[in-house]
Amino acid sequence: MKYLSVPWLVIALLMVGSVTAATHPRVTADQLIAEAGEYNGRTVVIRGEAFGDIMTRGSMGWVNVLSEGVGIGIWADTNQLAKIRLLGSYRYRGDIAEVTGIFNRACSQHGGEPDIHALSLDVVEAGSPIARPLQAEKIRLAAALVPITVIGVLSATRRRVKSNTNSL
């Protein structure tokens, strides 16, 4: 009998999970701003690149995520934030985090700013370094400009020294 109950339990859990996921809308930051009234106070799911800095404040902290080019602040506990290894910057594409949390259009805890208080945070795609190979055309331009500029500066300096000497 117990062997029959396990599959049913699994099926039941899956059904609950899918219902739960279905009731938490997947949104972008832009949607949250545009339809703030509709999403205010609701649990939403948002996915975006974690970028910049993680700012720890006690047992909690902030990370900003870029959701289709728009940044929004995620308030989460430090254990959740610790899952993020790479933050977006000049050198790196940051981890893509999926956050389930409560959207506040004017968070009373945080002085009225729009934010998401995370219930869960998972890294769904690891970040990676951004390749920035030296660009040959920039090197060629520098190779042409620098000597001309140096000659120009030396020539102008010599002219000025000569003109100062003559005026003495």
């Binding site: 910049g52 000049y90 009225g112």
Partner: protein
């Protein structure tokens, strides 16, 4: 009779414009050094190449010997306005080379926005920008706030003969010291002292809110530069929302308010005249208009019911109003929130605050509190004249560093500039509305451009029409120089090309 410019005029203008361009070239060394320190090699090459081009242009022009018999007001005005335009073109080079801009026009837009301390941006992917490029973004707003002609006068122009005229051509008319070169150096001295103090304050605030030491320093330096210059650039696309901190916003507000004060006021206070802070007509005028616009915006927001906590209302409204009134442009909410959630009354209040602006001879834009104060005094004076016997002499005074008797020339000067601003604003509203923006959006964004503020309701974006980008560039430039330098340049060009 308008005389046709002579070869002497062209040579004089070219020579001094060249000096200013050499200054711009030297400025490139700061972001170049930053890029080298952080091993951002492509960025380093961009700045090295831009430095070379700017230096060659500057040296080439300055080698033309000035032969004008005298350095006239016209020369000063034209050098000021032409320098700004040429500096924009040269300043856009590293932006364009970086690949973060769709076009050279977009790059030039951001440079002019920086130099004029406006703060509107078209840069793409700001959150993945090199430290070297971010250094340039903030340095150029810092230099623009002080005035690049002021910079050239301080370090590069030994002969002071034309200095006054170039200085005034850049819309700085306060003389802290008898010599304009010494005045320029005093302005820089004030700015550099505040640079040290302000960067330290922002750095400490950054550490306290959880930033690591190096990012806290860089953010601190850049946000300070942008705040003091009332520029409003920030190293993140989220502007000051990035920090999620009342403390950080308070520190930024302290320094951008200080930056919006008249340099003459700073000098007076530094020299012991502390009563200037509350006697000065500018501060009185700005306090009155700040109180009025804040009240209007707060009432509107409370009615809209967006914020349930009084502190939240105060923090959002006060910051946005003071950011707009000082023409800084730091935003602690999204551009679209202004349009979608704040409603017409708060938007109108911020628009008015942006148009009025802050203090003359500061880093700020707008009509200026001094002119608003003078015009109000003039209205009071003329009203009193109607009410007293005709033989009575009505004297009105105002206090600006010293007591000044209000004369018609003060009123005329203030009125001409305010009328010019209103005309520029009107044209901008029409052109913006033609792009598809609603009237409130058009008025808000145009006030932001005309007042060199930088708050955005969402109109400014890389997809906006090219004609509007061009108009905003010209508008920011004209407003920053307060019109007459640009009128002089246009007149100069017109006189040069007409047949006789």
């Amino acid at each position: 009779m308008i005389r046709r410019p002579s070869t002497h005029d062209y040579r004089t203008i070219a020579h001094y414009t060249g000096k200013v361009m050499i200054g711009i070239a030297i400025l490139f060394s700061l972001p170049l050094a930053t890029a080298l320190v952080f091993q951002e090699w492509n960025t380093a090459l961009d700045f090295a190449n831009s430095l070379c081009i700017a230096l060659l242009v500057g040296m080439g022009l300055s080698l033309i010997p000035p032969r004008a018999r005298s350095f006239t007001w016209l020369h000063g005005m034209v050098v000021a306005s032409l320098s700004w335009m040429l500096a924009t073109v040269l300043g856009a080079l590293p932006y364009y080379f970086s690949g973060h801009y769709r076009s050279f026009l977009d790059a030039a837009f951001d440079v002019m926005s920086g130099y004029t301390t406006t703060g509107l941006i078209l840069i793409q992917d700001l959150d993945h920008v090199a430290n070297g490029l971010n250094m340039w973004r903030h340095v150029l707003t810092y230099v623009g706030g002080q005035g690049m002609v002021v910079l050239a006068l301080t370090f590069l122009v030994k002969e002071a003969g034309g200095g006054v005229k170039m200085y005034i051509g850049e819309a700085k008319d306060e003389r802290l010291l008898p010599s304009v070169v010494h005045t320029a150096r005093a302005i820089w001295w004030i700015s550099l002292v505040y640079l040290a103090v302000g960067t330290m304050a922002h750095w400490v605030a950054g550490l306290l809110i959880g930033l690591k030491p190096i990012p806290a320093f860089l953010h601190g330096l850049w946000v300070y530069m942008a705040g003091w210059s009332t520029g409003g650039f920030a190293p993140s696309s989220m502007n000051v929302m990035y920090y999620h901190s009342t403390l950080y916003e308070t520190v930024t507000a302290l320094f951008f308010v200080l930056g919006s004060f008249n340099f003459a006021l700073h000098w007076a206070v530094w020299n012991g005249k502390r009563r200037e802070v509350y006697r000065n007509i500018e501060n009185l005028s700005l306090t009155a208009t700040l109180t009025l616009t804040f009240t209007l915006a707060a009432v509107g927001l409370i009615k809209a019911g967006v914020y349930t906590e009084p502190l939240a209302v105060f923090r959002r409204v006060f910051y946005m109003i003071i950011s707009g009134h000082t023409t800084t442009g730091f935003q602690n909410l999204y551009a679209r929130q202004l349009l979608l959630e704040w409603g017409p009354l708060p938007i109108t209040a911020i628009t008015i605050a942006m148009l009025i602006g802050a203090s003359a001879c500061s880093t700020a834009g707008g009509f200026k509190g001094l002119r608003v104060g003078i015009l109000v005094k003039a209205i009071i004076q003329d009203t009193r004249r109607l009410l007293v016997p005709e033989s009575a002499v009505v004297v009105e005074k105002f206090h600006h560093i010293r007591d000044v008797v209000l004369e018609d020339r003060h009123v005329r000067g203030a009125a001409l500039v305010v009328v010019s601003y209103v005309a520029l604003f009107g044209i901008g509203v029409v052109l913006t509305a033609l792009s598809g923006a609603s009237m409130p959006e058009a008025a808000f964004e145009t006030a932001s451009v005309t007042g060199n503020v930088g708050l955005s309701i969402g109109v400014t974006n890389p997809q906006m029409p090219a004609y509007l980008k061009l108009w905003y560039i010209v508008s920011m430039w004209i407003a920053r120089l307060e019109f007459f330098s640009v009128y002089a340049l246009i007149g100069f060009i017109f006189a040069g090309v007409r047949r006789k």
